[in-house]
Amino acid sequence: MDEIRFVAATGAVGAGVDRESLAAALERGPQFIAADAGTTDAGPAALGSGVPAFAKDAVKKDLTEMLRAGREGGIPVIVGSAGTAGADIHVDWTLDIVREICAENDLSLKVAVVRSQQDPDYLLEMLAAGRIHPLAPAPVLNEATIRRSVRVVGMMGVESIQRALRLSPDLVLAGRASDSALYAAMPIALGFPEGLAWHVGKIVECGTLACEVRGPGAMLATIRTDHALIEPIGPGLRCTPMSVAAHSLYENADPYLFKEASGTLDLKQAMFEAATDSSVRVSGATFRPASAYNVKLEGAELAGYATVMIGGIRDPFIIGRLDWWLGKMKEYFDHSVRAVLRLNPADYQFSLHTYGRDGVMGELEPERNSAIHEIGVVFEVLAADQRTATEIAKLARQPLLHLPVPEWKGAVTTIAYLHNPPQIERGPVYRFNMHHVVTPRTEEEMFRIESVEIGSRVAVPAVVRTA
């Protein structure tokens, strides 16, 4: 086999699969279709609450397109980081969508489900064995952190996807996975160079984002023994050596070195050349195997429950002494929380964002003292339960509304609340609590595979084509 070809259907399942482009890519004889369905960039809420960040109907639409194309081409579909965060609840949510799709389209599928959620007892055992190590910068991770976590997932690499592919499934549905690994798994299993396979995975995993201007479409990749071709499929899409090289910067800390579970992708010697007017030839990437197999952990814990109030300030006298005024407000507020609710400052947190002044950058804002005529105030309080958070917010409502301003004599109303009632219950708030890797004894002990048959008919196994 001297080349392998595959398709990235979209940058994220739920962000949109373009049917025509996928059909056009299918005509080029790809050996699999893949896309990731998750990211930590959506924030800790998806992992903590179990609720995916993408709309269910959008995910269903994209999965339908991908599964239809997979069936039509007789090739497997690989989906990773199911349901945004890739924990069991997210995998099951996605599996239910697949069941709906099969029922509605008279499809039958063999699904290889790869689970990535980690049992707290297992993590405690790994911690005690000294097998959990921090990345930089990392919060403290101890027994309590593990016990407090609502969910923890491990990020799988190519090995688990490869094991799933050995079951000859129509669909690999993986929990949390390295996006690039979804693409690199089969090429590496077939003996293509690891550096090229990972590099190509990195380029196509965001879909058409590696194009000059992104748009609806798919990415077609062809890996050969000493180079690879990256070709966008979609109206007006164009990849250039610059656009592909520049994409390696996006959302990554280091533009040259990428840590994966089994080693490090090194792009320092990577070459990017125009193959055609819209496609790019890449070569030169290397992959250095790690001395140990290290799995990145992602965990979320409950921080508390929040209640929010939004308002605006337009009076120049208040704006002119805003920090003083907000300081007075906090003083009064802390006092009344203590007097009325008998809570100590340690029992709650509050955050105040003053939009129009420094709401986005906080103390880093260089224009903090520029002239302002209006300020948006977002007041937020966090407490152990929703009722307490809302009670505290209600206590803050009055001081924000009527706190005196020295420039005025007489009663003043100092904030324009947007809503009635002003407070909005935001519900549970989560936080990421791990930036660590674990070195398991075996890959299998962290990532578990089961084969699930969906649909009434006997599933026709997908054939992995060989040249």
């Binding site: 921080a303 950058m361 708030v429 936080r431 990421f432």
Partner: protein, 102 residues
């Protein structure tokens, strides 16, 4: 001249929940080289603008992409209570105003 007049893109973004990364990109090799040779963009500048330890700043000159890149620890973990920028996408404005001498 201000950096935002020279660059094709100045952006910030999360690099995972614990880091924030900045990309400063150019379309022409000559402009990129001019900015590079000015030596204005470096780790100390980032440390000063974003009030972080110099040795916590990763700084890269990416010749093949005509880009500069810097990565710093996030001041608040992404999405934590009080974090004002979930995606880290609006933290780049101070870089736009950086003056590049002729």
């Amino acid at each position: 001249m201000r950096l935002d007049r020279l660059a094709s893109l100045v952006r910030s973004k999360n690099a995972g929940p614990f880091q924030l990364t900045f990309d400063i990109m150019f379309t022409g090799a000559d402009v990129y080289q001019r900015v590079k040779s000015s030596k204005v963009l470096n780790a100390s500048l980032i440390a000063r603008l974003y009030d972080c330890e110099l040795d916590s700043v990763q700084f890269f000159e990416c010749d093949n992409a005509l880009a500069f890149k810097a990565t710093i620890p996030r001041r608040q973990v992404q999405g934590a209570f009080g974090d004002p920028d979930l995606h880290g996408g609006q933290q780049h404005a101070p870089l736009m105003a950086v003056e590049i001498p002729h």
